[in-house]
């Protein structure tokens, strides 16, 4: 096929050559080429090997429906597999390679699959590799994946940037073919703000397949010029509408890879645009469908419309000897144009006659026409075709190097189905058309099955959309084409192929044949959705754009029902594949999710803290003063707190200001324990339940005045608790005079903990008396130092004497450094989250890992807390039999019994003599090395809980094949009497 490029014509700019690399070959194309057209021009015919049978495959289409010509683009981190060459705009420096051949695409040993094809029928892998042993599939799958499949992604990080953008418009027009251009112009003239999107890098759609010197081109140019002149019309080329969602919201993907050869420059490679439109016009056109016949996947077999597109757009004459086979009028244009370009053309039309006038045009154009004639098979790759002559039923052969086929046109109705409208079958057209549109949505042109007269159709849709969006200007008149409209044609062949030999492929990309569908039907997978999953039809990257309709037709035929009753598979976004990078946008790396920092964040960084993520927060994990790594540092920090005094940042705790005359009543209702009688100046630990009696959260609430409370929540559940309190006050308990405000960000919090905590704070805050009598355990105090409000809560998470100190966020660093500096003679040191969490495990305090919304008060050993005299949220449902079952998994402490072993979070617990298999009797929630016990300890949930205290059990960690012996003990490993708190 070398020399396919014509010396003149086409929409390529021969003055702008573009060099690119195809595997080891350095090739040149032109501006205006797609990668597919440039490769075809260079004589490349083998574009890859098929998914299952490794059959040689070439370009079939000229757009996003392409199933075969999938290449891997780029190198290193930019390597991207499975990119259709037909939609890739050629750019200088492009690098690409073929995929799915071993050892190479040109010489592929796995073509053996093609010879054993009878074994690889639908469901073969599942039937063969699923049993009899459990796990067989797991074992075989990697080998199958290697033999069958497409491109391979790289594991390097993607160096490119991707952006996300939000847009608004009055009228969104999707598709810039004749209908879309007309719609955009009409809406723009009417004064609407218009966004016209086109997946191609050129505007015109089907007009681009018409001769450059023809009248269609003049109209196209005139419309483009007018669009340019309309101030409120924005045109996005290289932009695919991926999906349509409720509320006329569309997801668009703008591609910029052609303009961003170097990621270091920072230009985005792709931009995901979310656009809200007051009205939408679908002008997405139609996709030509192939015919089914033997070996219809041979290189050289293309869609007839694609042959014409390559001829007029890219100046490619892909065969001097061509056969065009069709069941409708549209392919006659291809035949005539090929003949005009100098090819010898035979036209096989399944119908006994074509529309009026075509026969005469074919005769004048020198096209040999055979009616009532059907393809039997392709010969060679490609040497000719064997076909069946209608009247005589005789088999004939015609040599050719190019075979253009047309099975009719199927509306690209994918987007219109995304919001739930089922496509409707139009028997007269022989295809599915979009289901009913919701208000404000319109369709025009081929997507509606209206192939003739897109100008007036588009114009009317554009005007209606503009009106719907509130524009009132005149839309003027539609284009009145001066040329004779090409007869439309969408009649699809409903018959099974009368083929001879060879496979007839329905889905080229996934190698699904007519036989596979028949087998699926025989085995009971009759419905289209079932047959799809059994055969993988339509599940490739092309999502069956040229296979679903033929399959639906075949399956309906096999069942003996009408195609409208068989229906279609469900269309879901995205319309074409979208990179993960584009979906992620800038939300990668440190922008993956929002990060919350405490007011002391910068101090931590400057003073040797190693930070860790705790939910959305960054918190100090450990400090380097204590050790070079977490494993040693947290132990030193624990000892610091147990033996001397430490300071830790607890600003991330949820903090809620609760005020109002009914605040006491409110707290009494939400906490299981009583708060109404909490004296001013005191704090109390409280637990909240969900309505279903599972534990929602715990925390400490302090009373600073008659109507004024300061609630703290866990870091993890702060937002949920806040919303829950607001929900109760705004929907259920509107009569309570209470206001709640989140003050989490308003206060910096720090905990001074350890036997020397009081001494340390007395050095830091000599202004206040902290003596045990003045500020006993669970007492609170608020005061001002130099006008700065300070709150001190004497409470402990670690089990040591401890105080929480709160100051306004902007005074956090000042208070923190004041404590550290003034208490320096006592040896105070900061400690991090790892030590904090370990100290609480030793003390047996539950935290986020235990508060997983599945456990009850009693599961956590907190049942005694609940009031017996007042109502509280969740009280009634606590008594459900399921929740009072003594065999529920409940909180236990675990002590490791093996000196050299460790306990692991998530380990599954089994009784001592039990075989460690299955879900076990519980699991470990939190683990640490206990400095006071000198061994690993853990908190966990165990069936029957502390009734089994003293028993030896087995902690299994199947991921590592580990089993460790442990003993069930009280979760209060340290100072169970709480003597250290009352000093």
């Amino acid at each position: 096929m070398s020399g396919a490029r014509l010396a003149a014509g086409g929409r390529i700019d021969r003055s702008r050559p573009l060099a690119f690399r195809f595997e080891t070959r350095r090739l040149t194309g032109y501006a205006g080429d797609t990668l597919a057209s440039a490769l075809l021009a260079a004589g490349v015919r083998l574009f890859g090997r098929s998914f299952k049978y490794h059959r040689p495959r070439s370009v079939v289409a000229a757009g996003p429906e392409e199933p075969n010509a999938l290449l891997t683009l780029g190198v290193g981190g930019r390597r991207t597999p499975n990119i259709p060459a037909t939609t890739t705009e050629l750019y200088e420096g492009l690098v690409c390679e073929r995929q799915n051949g071993w050892p190479s695409v040109d010489f592929d040993l796995l073509t053996v699959n093609s010879w054993i094809g009878a074994l690889l029928s639908a469901g073969f892998y599942y039937k063969t590799f699923m049993g009899p042993r459990r796990g067989s599939w797991m074992f075989y799958e990697p080998f199958i994946r290697r033999a069958a499949g497409l491109g391979r992604a790289d594991h390097l990080p993607d160096p490119d940037r991707y952006h996300t953008r939000h847009a608004f418009t009055d009228v969104l027009v999707i598709g810039a073919g004749p209908a879309g251009l007309s719609a955009a112009v009409a809406a723009g003239r009417a004064g609407a703000r218009v966004l016209l999107v086109e997946q191609d890098f050129e505007l015109g759609g089907s007009l681009l397949s018409a001769p450059v010197a023809g009248p269609e081109e003049q109209v196209r140019r005139a419309l483009l010029a007018e669009l340019e002149s309309l101030p409120r019309v924005e045109v996005l080329r290289r932009t695919t509408a991926l999906g349509l969602y409720d509320g006329r919201f569309a997801a668009l993907l703008e591609r910029h890879e052609h303009a961003s050869p170097d990621p270091a420059l920072g230009a985005p490679r792709e931009v995901l645009v979310g656009v809200r439109a007051r009205a939408i016009v679908y002008a997405t056109g139609a996709i030509e469908q192939p015919l089914l016949f033997g070996d219809n996947d041979r290189p050289g077999v293309m869609l007839a419309g694609a042959v014409r597109a390559y001829l007029h757009r890219h100046a490619l004459l892909l065969g001097r000897r061509a056969v065009i086979a069709t069941n409708n009028d549209s392919a006659w244009a291809t035949a005539l144009d090929l003949a005009a370009a100098g090819a010898e053309v035979t036209l096989l039309d399944e119908r006994p006659a074509a529309s009026a006038g075509l026969a005469e045009r074919a005769r004048r154009g020198g096209v040999e026409v055979r009616h009532s004639s059907r393809l039997l098979r392709a010969i060679g790759a490609l040497r000719g075709v064997e076909w069946l002559e209608g009247e005589s039923h005789s088999r004939r052969r015609t040599p050719c190097e190019l075979l253009g086929v047309s099975g009719g046109w199927s509306p690209a109705l994918h987007l219109s189905s995304h919001t739930g409208a089922r496509p409707a079958y139009d028997a007269a057209l022989g295809c599915f058309v979009p289901g009913p549109f919701p208000a404000g949505v319109f369709g025009a042109g081929s997507v509606m099955g209206r192939h003739a007269g897109p100008w007036a159709d588009g114009h009317q849709a554009g005007e209606s959309a503009a009106r719907n969006a509130g524009a009132s200007g005149s839309a003027g008149d539609a284009v009145r084409p001066s040329w004779e409209a090409w007869p439309g044609g969408a009649a699809l062949s409903p018959r099974n192929p009368p083929r001879r030999g060879g496979k007839a492929f329905v889905d080229f990309q996934n190698d699904v044949t007519t036989d596979d569908l028949a087998l699926a039907h025989e085995e009971g997978y009759e419905a289209v959705e079932h047959a799809k999953r059994y055969t993988t039809l339509g599940m490739g990257t092309d999502q069956g754009k040229i296979s679903n309709l033929n399959a639906a037709r075949l399956l309906a035929g096999l069942r003996g029902i009408e195609i409208q009753d068989a229906g279609t598979t469900t269309y879901r976004p995205p319309y074409t594949p979208v990179s993960i990078g584009a979906l992620a946008g800038r939300s990668v790396g440190r922008h993956f999710r929002p990060i919350r920092r405490t007011p002391l964040h910068d101090w931590h960084l400057a003073n040797g803290a190693v930070m860790t993520e705790a939910g959305p927060w960054l918190r100090p994990w450990y400090y380097r003063w204590a050790g070079a790594d977490a494993g040693s540092a947290y132990l030193a920090e624990m000892r610091q707190v147990r033996e001397q005094v430490g300071l830790s940042d607890v600003s991330s705790l949820g903090k809620i200001d609760v005020q109002g005359p009914d605040a006491a009543e409110f707290l009494d209702r939400v906490y299981v324990n009583g708060f109404a009688k909490l004296p001013i100046g005191k704090a109390r630990y409280g637990v909240m339940l969900n309505d279903d009696a599972t534990v929602l959260d715990d925390g400490t609430t302090a009373r600073f005045g008659e109507t004024r409370y300061f609630m703290t929540t866990t870091t993890a559940h702060a937002a949920d608790v806040m919303s829950w309190l607001e929900f109760l006050l705004q929907t259920a308990w509107c009569d309570l005079r209470v206001q709640v405000v989140s003050v989490t960000d308003a206060w910096a919090g720090m905990s001074v903990a350890g036997p020397r905590a009081r001494a340390a704070l007395e050095l830091a805050l000599p202004e206040v008396s902290l003596a045990d009598a003045a500020l006993p355990h669970m007492a609170v105090r608020e005061f001002e130092i130099a006008g700065v409000p300070v709150r001190i809560l004497r409470l402990s998470f670690s089990g040591e004497l401890a105080y929480e100190v709160y100051v306004p966020a902007d005074r956090g660093v000042a208070m923190w450094t004041r404590i550290l500096e003034r208490a320096a003679p006592l040896g105070i040191r900061p400690y991090g989250l790892e030590a904090l969490a370990s100290l609480r495990i030793e003390k047996g305090h539950v935290a986020g890992l235990e508060l997983d919304q599945r456990n009850t008060l009693d599961d956590l050993g907190l049942g005694k807390l609940a009031s017996r005299t007042k109502a509280y949220v969740g009280r009634e449902l606590r008594e459900r039999p399921e929740l009072t079952d003594p065999e529920r998994w409940s909180l236990v402490g675990l002590e490791c019994l093996e000196p050299a072993a460790r306990l692991r979070g998530g380990a599954i617990l089994f009784a001592r003599d039990e075989t460690p298999a299955g879900h076990g009797r519980g699991y470990i929630t939190s683990v640490t090395w206990s400095t006071v016990r000198g061994k690993p300890i853990a908190l966990g949930l165990y069936r029957g809980g502390l009734r089994h205290a003293g028993e030896e059990i087995v902690c299994a960690y199947p991921l590592l094949g580990e089993t460790v012996r442990a003993r069930i003990v009280s979760p209060m490993f340290y100072d169970p009497a709480g003597e250290r708190l009352h000093v």
Binding site: S723, F727, Q730
Partner: protein, 89 residues
């Protein structure tokens, strides 16, 4: 992508809101000792197709709980009003 007309803040994307379930149900009075009433309230949900009144909280806006009229079949959104009765601060 729903757009919710917040009576305080105007029409906003639903991503600014938190969903709160069926607003047509009445929560048992606080202190009600009917386990059956609480059970039904917590565990029994209708899943209506069509008109639905539902709670949404404008968490990234005014923090108010709203009652939104929405058609579950079409996703189309109607009026949104404050969940708290008028006159309650």
């Amino acid at each position: 992508m729903l757009r919710i007309p917040c009576p305080h803040c105007g029409e906003r994307d639903y991503t600014e809101f938190r969903y709160g379930g069926d607003a047509g149900r009445t929560r048992p009075a606080h202190g009600s000792q009917s386990v059956r009433a609480w059970h039904d309230h917590v565990f029994l949900f209708a899943n209506p197709k069509g008109a639905h009144r539902e709670y949404w909280q404008h968490v990234h806006g005014c923090r108010q709980w709203l009652v939104l009229e929405r058609d579950t079949a079409t996703g189309s959104v109607g009026r949104a009003s404050l969940a708290r009765p008028p006159g309650v601060p």
